[in-house]
């Protein structure tokens, strides 16, 4: 692991602080969600952290009504795949958007949330 690689632990520490950090391949410029050891595009092993805007649009979404045991108290809740402005996608809980307003293409913005004491990715209204 190179020193500049963003570990999973560091990524979610930064989520807790309200920041999303991707990694950019120093060889070919490909953007990726951490952690990655090798660039899936060119195979290089040199990454630099890149802050993400947190702005994106919903690529797809669902409302979970039958939840795993650990999340049953939260149900129903919305989960969306969000394509961020920079081109990478992240999955997150959608908060403060009525279920019937959810739509593919809807603009949303990253919002740090906590689920069962763990920092997690949320998206709220843009």
């Amino acid at each position: 692991m190179t020193e500049s690689t963003v570990t999973l632990g560091r990524f979610f520490e930064q989520v807790r602080d309200g920041a999303l950090t991707a990694i950019r391949c120093e060889a070919c410029g490909a953007l990726a969600v951490p952690p990655k050891e090798l660039c899936p595009e060119c195979g290089a092993r040199r990454w630099e952290p890149v802050p993400l805007s947190g702005e994106g649009t919903i690529a797809s979404y669902t409302i979970i009504r039958v939840a795993p045991r650990g999340h049953a108290d939260d149900a129903p809740y919305a989960i969306a795949a969000v394509r961020l402005r920079e081109g990478v996608s992240l999955l997150g809980r959608v908060v403060d958007v009525p279920f019937d307003a959810l739509a593919i293409g809807l603009p949303v913005r990253f919002r740090p949330i906590v689920i069962k004491d763990h920092p997690a990715i949320g998206f709220g209204p843009a």
Binding site: S60, I63, V66, P68, A81, L91
Partner: protein
């Protein structure tokens, strides 16, 4: 590679059982050996699929356990885990062991038991096949994964909830004809459309059930198979993988691993989708069948939904899909599913499928998907 054939098949009744997954596998395996007319002493290896044994039965090291319960404790055995595609992955590796000349007779199969735990627990255990840090933390479920696929497919192609429901109606209709199926009851579009929502837009009847069961096949080299009753030849067995995170997929309306595994399998066999007479594919959710029929090249993208609605995939249709009832009605004991699909296609190609027989079937395809669409296996079969 030497030619490899399936010379014996065995499947338990699918549904709720009061036996362990090893016992269920062992019943199926003994049936498969009897079907092949091969004594257990000639088996040189066991490739075994089991997924959530560590959770539902507090059991790891399930390969040797399955071999011991079957009564062949000294054969080399390995447990395969690629989520719901486990015993199909085991099959591909077993084909390579026989094809390479390392062994002449190999047993492949799987066993799974999940109905001994509450649904909220099994839902959680199945979700372990999604990413722990990025997906499980959010409370993503497998119905949720395929709901994301469904929503994207509806948006891109205009696929409707009625078309998805048509898949469930068709597979339940087929399941009535399969004595081993978990559900042997016809349902209507209304049943599906008015069932409780699980993960919008998927409803309860869009989802396959939790199932206990076992399945096994006996693989043999050409020399051995030539002396067997009715060998069914393995024309190809291919695997493909894709990004672990469902969010990393560029186009959620597609399953690229299905497209890649199918392309490899067709190339290995030197045939194409138009040459296939019968298909057993991974309909863990109704939308999964629609997307798979497109990814396997049976229909153009966007035509999978209308094809289901028009009956093209029903018994008697253009290309019958899941004559066994599929995961939806036959049931889905995850570690055994891939082997069970192979058992059905072999039964079809032998002409032994009774009321659910696809008339004159000469070539068949099985397709099994694991996890968030990150693993896909496709195998092709043919009779002499």
């Amino acid at each position: 590679m030497r030619r490899v054939a399936v010379i014996g098949v065995g499947v338990t009744k699918f549904g709720r059982h009061e036996r362990t997954s090893a016992e269920l596998f062992a019943e199926a395996a003994a049936d498969a050996l009897a079907d092949a007319d091969i004594p257990a002493s000639r088996v040189q290896a066991l490739y075994y699929g089991n997924v959530v044994g560590g959770e539902t039965e507090k059991q790891l090291h399930t390969g040797p356990q399955a071999a011991s319960v079957l009564g062949i404790p000294t054969v080399p055995t390995t447990r395969f885990e690629t989520a719901c595609a486990s015993s199909h992955a085991a099959f591909r590796h077993a084909v390579m062991e026989v094809g390479s000349g390392a062994s002449d007779i190999v047993l492949v199969g799987g066993g799974e038991r999940v109905l001994n735990v509450p649904t909220a627990d099994s839902t959680e255990y199945f979700a372990y096949a999604s990413d722990a840090s990025w997906e499980q933390t959010l409370g993503l479920t497998f119905p949720g994964v395929f709901a994301l696929v469904a929503r994207a497919h509806m948006h891109k192609h205009g696929t409707t909830e009625e078309q998805m429901a048509a898949v469930a109606v068709k597979n339940h209709k087929h399941g009535v004809l399969n004595p081993k199926a978990q559900f042997r009851k016809e349902i209507t579009l209304e049943t599906v459309l008015t069932s409780p929502k699980v993960a919008d837009p998927l409803k309860l009847y869009d989802c396959c059930p939790f199932t206990d069961g076992g399945a096994a096949v006996v693989l043999a080299s050409e020399d051995v198979a030539r002396r067997a009753r009715r060998p069914i030849w393995v024309l190809a067995s291919a695997a493909a993988s894709d990004w672990m995170l469902i969010g990393d997929k560029r186009d959620l309306s597609r399953v690229p691993a299905t497209e890649r595994a199918a392309a490899t399998a067709y190339r290995q066999a030197g045939i194409g989708p138009a040459d296939i007479d019968v298909v057993e594919l991974h309909d863990c959710f109704t939308i999964a069948e629609i997307v798979a029929t497109e990814g396997l090249g049976l229909f153009e993208p966007g035509v999978g939904g209308p094809a289901a609605e028009k009956g093209w995939t029903s018994l008697g249709g253009k290309i019958p899909v899941n004559p066994s009832g599929g995961l939806k009605a036959k049931g889905h004991p995850i570690g055994a599913t891939g082997a069970a699909q192979i058992c059905e296609v072999v039964t079809q190609l032998r002409g032994d499928a009774g009321p659910r027989q696809v008339e004159g079937a000469r070539r068949g395809l099985t397709h099994t998907l694991g996890g968030n669409t990150a693993t896909v296996l496709v195998s092709l079969f043919g009779r002499d």
